[in-house]
């Protein structure tokens, strides 16, 4: 893809998604604790250059859709013992997500 070209957004607000456990080396912004977890898209943040590219000086790549995804704390931590409704919101790039199977 050309510089600044948009990778198409595959998801929209309300979609249930699962975070992939991609085997990408280098600088990634998808923390381990959400890998494999399912949540819901709550916001579309826009298109941004991929930090995986930027970290090695590559500013000529496409822009990726970025979403805010909400996870129930009880889904992230099996022993979470506070509220059922407690949630965690975090930004995830499109290529780290897939439709949730659950």
């Amino acid at each position: 893809m050309n510089r600044g070209e948009r990778v198409p957004a595959r998801f929209e607000v309300g979609d249930k998604v699962q975070v992939l456990d991609l085997n990408i080396e280098g600088h990634i912004r998808t923390p381990s604790y959400i890998r494999g977890k399912s949540g819901k898209i709550i916001q579309f943040c826009g298109f941004f250059l991929n930090p995986e590219d930027l970290s090695v000086g590559n500013t000529g790549g496409p822009v990726y859709p970025l979403y805010r995804v909400s996870f129930a704390m009880k889904d992230l931590w099996s022993d979470y013992d506070r509220g059922e409704d407690d949630e965690l919101c975090i930004e995830v790039y499109d290529h780290w997500l897939d439709t949730s199977k659950t």
Partner: protein
Amino acid sequence: MRGYHDIGGEEAGPVPKEELPWLYWEKKVEAIRNLLGDATRRLVSLDEMRHGFESFGIEKYKRYSFYRRRLEALIDTLEIKGVLTRKELDAEVAQVKADWISDDTGTGAGSHEQG
């Protein structure tokens, strides 16, 4: 493999509340990074700097403070880009140390402060 910075969810002790001062040299590290990363230079982005200190290896990462890590990552990135070499910088540091006169403000009064 999980990076040593990727610590969300790990066990840890109580949050250390002592507020540490932000020292002049630390501010200067941030300032230099901001300038080198600006639109006219684009030499070190925040992403490159983060990648830098994530690539130290656990020993070097543990040895240094937050701002020293940023300084080292800045230098590493500049070296990768061919802007400077560690050898050049070491020679410059040796010169700074030789000229160093510490004063009460702790800013040092070597001749390199001029200009």
